[in-house]
């Protein structure tokens, strides 16, 4: 029951985050210092999520995970395909984890 309650609570908080500047507040109330930096918010958040996820890996799987993500990046750059990037990363992870 705690699990479902936790998910519902996080969903409610997330909904507030999601509608803060679409329904609750007007965008022009944002401080200028934040507004002029919003264009980098997406890539910065993606990088932060990846970095913290990588840092949380158990030691024996840290290198396979790092190499797999590198392979994903190279694949995404070369093929521009998300599916290919994920598939190559999974293959690389398997290979390096076994080695």
């Amino acid at each position: 029951m705690d699990v479902l309650l936790a998910l519902v609570c996080v969903a409610l908080v997330s909904w507030v985050f999601r509608v803060t500047f679409t329904g609750l507040l007007a965008g022009d109330r944002l401080p200028d210092a934040v507004r002029v930096r919003l264009d980098v918010a997406g890539p910065a958040a993606f990088a932060a999520l990846v970095a913290t996820d990588l840092a949380g890996e158990p030691a024996p799987l840290l290198l396979p995970m790092a190499l797999a993500l590198l392979a994903a990046g190279v694949t995404a750059r070369l093929t521009r395909s998300h599916v290919a990037a994920v598939a190559v990363a999974a293959g690389a992870w398997s290979t390096f984890a076994i080695l």
Binding site: A26, L38, A55, R77, A90
Partner: protein, 239 residues
């Protein structure tokens, strides 16, 4: 230019719904393994069936769900789990600020409050690349993105819940979530200012990863916004 951007700009006369279907399809396929990971985590946390899917649909955010579930499973308690999930999802505030104008201008009131429910990394990135869409066209585009990605997400989570008992503790699926984010990130790296922000976010994320309840993510994003400095980029996120 990312494939998403290229596709969106290549056919401006295409209907918003068909544009959305074409733009979200590759990303929807790529989130399937990550959805399976979340399904496995739900099983590990002791939640299954309709309640698990209802919670997943309500939250609609894989990273935050994983943070919440892993905190619960590790004995972090209800409050700790909620805090962890909320902090991981704090970036949604920035997404809301970044594309808020398209939800407010020429939109019905319900869309301002219900439409953003499907704001996640993938829908945000895809919609940012379709910056020419406004008003009704944007509403149809966004709704299609959210419905398609949500349907695929729930199906993938369901599969993961079935696989939970047979998968080992660590599997190649573990790399699916971060690999999807890397694929979203790569098209933006041609811009020097974004590269600087990304490097700072990654470094700060690694250094601050030991902070409790996912605070490392908030610290990393904050540091990167400061490092980026004011300005504009030629990346598709300028709405």
């Amino acid at each position: 230019m990312s494939p998403i951007t290229a596709a969106s700009r290549a056919a401006p006369t295409r209907s918003p719904v068909s544009r959305a279907l074409r733009d979200i399809a590759p990303l929807a396929a790529a989130v399937v393994p990550f959805g399976a990971v979340v399904g496995v985590a739900l099983t590990d946390a002791g939640l299954g069936g309709v309640p698990a899917l209802a919670g997943t649909a309500l939250l609609y955010a894989g990273s935050a769900q994983l943070a919440t579930l892993s905190t619960i499973t590790a004995g972090g308690g209800l409050l700790g789990a909620v805090l962890a999930g909320a902090v991981v999802n704090a970036r949604l505030l920035l997404y809301s600020a970044s594309h808020g104008e398209r939800f407010r201008t020429d939109q019905p009131r319900w869309f301002r409050w219900i439409g953003p429910l499907t704001t996640v990394d993938q829908t945000f990135a895809v919609a940012a690349a379709a910056a020419d869409l406004r008003g009704t066209a944007f509403r149809h585009y966004w709704t299609t993105l959210g419905v398609v990605l949500g349907a695929v997400w729930l199906a993938a989570v369901t599969v993961g819940m079935q696989l939970g008992a047979v998968l080992p503790g660590h599997s190649p699926l573990d790399v699916a979530g971060p690999a999807t984010l890397v694929a979203l990130l790569v098209p933006h790296l041609s811009d020097r200012r974004i590269r600087r922000a990304v490097v700072v976010a990654a470094a700060a994320g690694l250094l601050a990863s030991g902070l409790p309840a996912g605070l490392g993510i908030a610290v990393a994003v904050g540091a990167s916004l400061v490092a980026a400095g004011p300005g504009t980029t030629d990346a598709p996120e300028v709405a």
